[in-house]
């Protein structure tokens, strides 16, 4: 199982945005994290992979275990049989029950045998821990329950490629943990692409990851290696609020966050920095480093440095 993306580009005429700019990426089995700020092009990429949008240029190929190669951009019908999709924001018929809607979606997916369908729906509801709410109208579901229902429908019909777009947005911490567990379970045999702007989602779950920024692929690899590559290059210090701006002008600041009323500033440097102490790098440092263009494949070409977020 492998998904190969080559030179994928997409330009929105409306608004003149280059949503995807020559993205090339190979995604193997397992959980793959797609990281990037809002508007980076993640959703465009995902929707292109599930046939909801057209690309201007590029190729996408899905290679199945049995050797079948699927041209994702052309052979849409085949793609739709193979993917499971949980969109970033989606709604549900408020009056339908979880069981009823899932059954209907299962029919659409092609699970034609009534008995098999019933069994599948039952098992998916169980898997997503919605069995108790199976007969309740979806209008009364909490955010977490809705997301779990979303994953249940995405898993209908044994998909080979599961695409989940920002699934943890809006979930409370407990719900998020539950959701992560669920994703890990299903990520064993298939390609799961998880798009998110929350770094810890990726560090918790994904064997591989990529960072997308302004439509460009900024970095690709395993979180592990990426963190290792930062070792010895991340420094931290505690300063007052007024000094942060000043530091941002003079240093390659990765992030600045409040810590016990003062500001902890982390910066990137090949060499030790005065007034800073060494820090253990984490994935967040990698992310900001990539975003700011200090590290990563195309570090040299990145433009202006945005202010710290």
């Amino acid at each position: 199982m492998e998904l190969k993306i080559e030179g994928l580009s997409k330009h929105y005429a409306h608004g003149g945005v280059q949503a995807l700019n020559d993205v090339t990426l190979t995604i193997p089995n397992g959980m793959f994290g797609l990281l990037g700020p809002n508007g980076a092009g993640k959703s465009t990429l995902m929707r292109t992979l599930v046939t909801l949008q057209e690309a201007d240029r590029g190729r996408v190929e899905l290679v199945l275990d049995d050797g079948e190669k699927v041209d994702v951009l052309r052979d849409k019908e085949r793609v739709r049989e193979l993917v499971g999709y949980l969109p970033q924001d989606f709604g549900l018929y408020p009056r339908a029950t979880a069981e009823g809607l899932l059954d209907h979606l299962a029919t659409l997916k092609g699970i034609r045998d009534r008995k098999v369908r019933k069994e599948t729906v039952g098992r998916l509801l169980e898997l997503t821990n919605l069995s108790a709410a199976a007969k309740r109208p979806l209008g009364g579901f909490s955010g977490g329950m809705r997301q779990r229902f979303g994953i249940a429908q995405a898993l209908l019909g044994d998909p080979k490629l599961v695409i989940v777009d920002e699934p943890t947005a809006g979930l409370d911490p407990e719900e998020r943990v539950r959701f992560h567990n669920l994703l890990t379970e299903i990520g064993e045999n298939v390609v799961v692409i998880l798009s998110t702007h929350i770094v810890s989602d990726v560090s918790d779950l994904c064997g591989r990851m990529a960072v997308l920024h302004q439509g460009r692929l900024k970095m690709e690899g395993t979180p592990f290696e990426a963190i290792a590559a930062m070792k010895g290059k991340v420094w931290r210090t505690l300063v007052d609020k007024q000094q942060v701006t000043q530091l941002q002008e003079t240093h390659r600041v990765l992030s600045s966050r409040l810590l016990a009323g003062r500001n902890q500033v982390r910066a990137w440097s090949e060499t030790p920095l005065e007034g800073f102490e060494p820090a253990e790098p984490d994935l967040e440092d990698v992310y900001f480093g990539v975003m700011r263009g200090y590290v990563g494949a195309e570090a040299s070409s990145s433009g202006a440095v945005a202010s710290a977020g």
Binding site: L52, R80, F90, G91, T120, L127
Partner: protein, 1201 residues
Amino acid sequence: MKNLLPILRYELRTLLRQKSTWVFTAVLFAMGLLLMCAAAGVFPGAGVGSSRGKVSANAPLVIMSFSASLSSLAMLITAAVMGKAVQRDFEWGTASLFGTTPISRGAYLGGRFLGSLVVLSGLLASILLGMWVATLLPMAQADRLGPNLPAAYLWPLAMVILPNLFMTGAIFFSLGARLRRFGPVMTAAVLMLVGYLISQQLTRNLDHRMLAALIEPFGNEALNHLTRYWSIEETNTRLPTLSGVMLWNRLLWIGIGAVVAVVTLRGFRFGPLDAKPTPSRRAKKVPAAEAPRVEAGRAPVVPPLRWTPASSLRQLVPAVARQSFRSVVGTMGFRLTAMGGVLVLLAMAPNIGSMYGTETFPVTGLVIEQMGGLFSLFMLIIITVYAAELIWQERESGMGDVVDALPTPGWAVYLGKYLGLLAVVALLLGVLFVTGVLVQLGHGYTDLEPGLWLFHLSVVTLPDLALLCALAFVVHLVVHQKQLGHVVMVLFYAAGLFRSQLGLDHNLLLFGADPGLTYSDMNGYGHFLGPIAWFRAYWSGWALLMVIAAALLVVRGRETSWKSRLVTARTRFDGRMRSSMFAAGVLIVALGAWIFFNTNVLNTYRTRFQAEALQAGYEKTYKHLEAEPQPKVTASEVHLELYPERREATFQGTLSFLNRSDAPISTLYVNVPPASEPAEVRTLSFDVPHRVTHRDPVYGLWTVTLDAPLAPGDTTDLTYEVHYAPRGIENTTGWTRLAENGTFLDSDLLPSLGYRKHLELRSDRVRKEHGLEAHPGMRAPDAPGARDTHYVRQHSDWISFKATIGTSPDQIALAPGYLQGEWEANGRRYFEYAMDAPILDFYSFLSARWEVRRDRWNDVAIEVYHHPPHAENVERMIAATKRSLDYFSRNFGPYQHRQFRILEFPRYMTFAQAFPNTIPYSEALGFIAKVDPDDPEDVDYPTYITAHEAAHQWWAHQVIGADAQGATMLSETLAQYSALMVMKEQYGDHRMRKFLEYELDRYLRGRSQEMREERPIARVENQGYIHYQKGGLAMYALQDYVGEEAVNSALRRFRDTWAFKGPPYPTSDDLLKELYAVTPEALHDLVHDLFEDIVLYDNRALSANAKALDDGRYEVTLDLRVTKTRADGQGKETPVELNDLLEVGVLDAEGTPLYLEKHRLTQSASQLTLTVKGKPAKAGVDPFIKLIDLDPDDNTVAVEL
């Protein structure tokens, strides 16, 4: 409330920035403009309303009623703006933001409401602006416009537009704000439509008009009620006042709007609704929120099955259809709309086919036609709304991406949705069926025809709606924007309403159009189904083509720009698509060409304008022939071969002519069927040497030159053979006179001589469009030559008549005359008839499978030929015939025939017509009447119609009027009077009142719709409301004032003088002379007022007070106000001094008169004191409305004791 102004301003800015506001404004402006353009004659041949008469297009009342109807249509826009005003804050989640500011609820709601109200007022005012601009256009015909009065454009704003806006706006606004959904707003709009329709049903019964005017939400009915009797003059000059029922209606509905708004908005809050727990709160109740069970779980392994076309059809399509059906049927909007439809059906139930407030048997064909027609409006609403809902339901609930990424074939999903909607339509048809049958049973009618119901609903109605559903689907798929899709659909419906104005009269031009059909109990579906099937096939071709276009352009996923849709369409346009498109194209072209060949080549298709142009052309080309003397018909012998099953007829016959003029005639102008008629002239020749010198196929006129002129007193015979056979599909239902069961042909189909002036255009405005002078109208009775011809046929006097008819062996064929023989030959049945005395040149031929009921009156054989199941009123007709023959021969003179026949014919035409001793009588008129003999309110109209037609055997077939003004007074008015006398003899004077009430209403409304000029009865120019309604009323009043005996003696003398005479023929002056002769001098003014003038009364009782006297009697003091005016032909009224005998009456609680005497009143205001025995309940002047009264409702008042 201190923040109201900023919110108002913000709302105004928001609305004014919205594109839709300006689009709506433009649409309303355009509608006002177009409507007024049509009224002002900008589009030749396509007017609206009374644009062909003398009412100005910009008359205040016209502007007012245009505004009223357009503003009720604009309710849709009001719903969209008002319903969304607050609801959108909830939809977008901004409501909670307002909730956290210090703005009061009152200021927020008030600001929003007023803002929308202001913008909508301007928006609706653009209707009036549009109308005003139209009157300024150079293309507007100056003679159709009166002076532009500013008040005429402003007053509708105050009287209709703004009150309607406030009322509907308040309701929509508050529902949208409180319930936070748009659905209930739409449902409220539908319910208002229900109110409108129910009140329209009510107006069919005179007694309910007031109620209808009150409860109709938009004021249309109230306006109609207030101005129903306005003359042309009043319409052109008067501004309707905000008074009477109009005022009450406005107050009632503004009040209802305000109350609904206040009650609804009292519970308004920004936060979550109490009634419905919020999702998060509900969620807490969910047990088992622990981590998912970790059962080495993985997704259940189910092999994904590919949807093949076959498996899609078997499973996917039904599954989607089921889901779609349920999702529609489950909504409250659907249920309320369907219930509203049923409610309207039940409201109409008592009135199905009723006439004069008398019920009709709810025969299935009629119930289907009337209920189905009304219910179809609700079908239309449901189809339009839910086609869009079904197409948008996934996207709107946020599941669009999920569903679009599923491996379902798009065609199967949409087919499933389509079938789901069709199932909804079928369900509604089922509701219609059940309601209809229940209504039939409710009438006590048990002769149900479930087969007919099922056939009609499934074969006739359903495919039509299926085409509409397809259109709605395609529109929404292609437009891919819900609101815009709705706009397109509304434009489509509007195109249907304004077909003629848009030049879309041809059924090949408007999607789904067909020639239509009329179901008749006698003739079933007749020949109508074939043409409909052809048109349906043709439109199915279009539907297929549109479906292919939709399949190419349908959006799946997020690529919604037209550019990318076109790119995608190109990739979808594969071989299969290409060939289907080609097939659809071939289907359209082939069927379209075939139908066009039928409608336009085999038959002649003409728009109204073209038809009028043809009439004008005839007049221009041949008017000079009017002065040419022609020989007159003296005898007609016809041999008709009728093939009902093939709908063919061949006339062979001989017409004998005599030169009655005093000059030799050498050129004959023979009228034959023009080329546009489905006829063929096979032979046409005179028995003297002649040549056909010119043939005009367009107007159907052959010029024949005789070698030797026909000398005065000489005769010649014309032998002819004319074959009639309708040619294939026509654009309209066309030739219904030839029917498989129930053929009704008349002498108009045979050749004749001379100029036919009845073909001339009558409307002066239309004449002007075609370059003709205003029509001079009929001659005065004393004009030279007026008495030379009678008014029914100008080229004959009295003729002898003989006919032989061959028809199918299972049918009876009839023509005027006595049966001479009946035989079978060549598998056909023949009947021979002959008249033993001269008749008018006016006869008919009928053939059908009848049952015959026979009876006798003295030596007269009475026969009723009726459709076997239509036996209910046959005895009634026979009894009416006997009473009529008895009364007429007693009072007017002997009946000239030895038989009297009534023949039922299919309901394609709804009249009864008196031919000599033969009365064709439509099945729609009286055969299925349900007269309740015990109900004093029921008008026995089968008796009335029978008596009227019987009376024509005297008034027309014995005495026939000269071809001049007043001619129809001698036939129609006298027939009307005679019928009233028969009714009065049977039911008594008292029960005639209900009937006369309807007649007065019809007269007063008739004169308000006069196209040319109202004339006194004695100068009537074939104007129905004058010679029937006013004539009957006037004659009835006359016999009330001078006595029935006296009037009858005058009529007897008139008949004795003129029966079977002519030329010279009698005129209305001859009749008036007899009437004056029997009237006392003191009442000559009355005769003059009734017959020679247009005099109107407004008789009112202001108050009536009674006190009990010691002897048990009562003294009643009456305050009366009597106004008498004289109107000219345009309705301009001038007061007349009063010196009239008027009836004054005091009635008891049962309505029986305690006192009823005629008093001579000389002053408008009079006070009278009367003493009566018995307790008075009502009193007043002319209590039984014997005179022409402009407001018959206020003649009496309740007596105060």
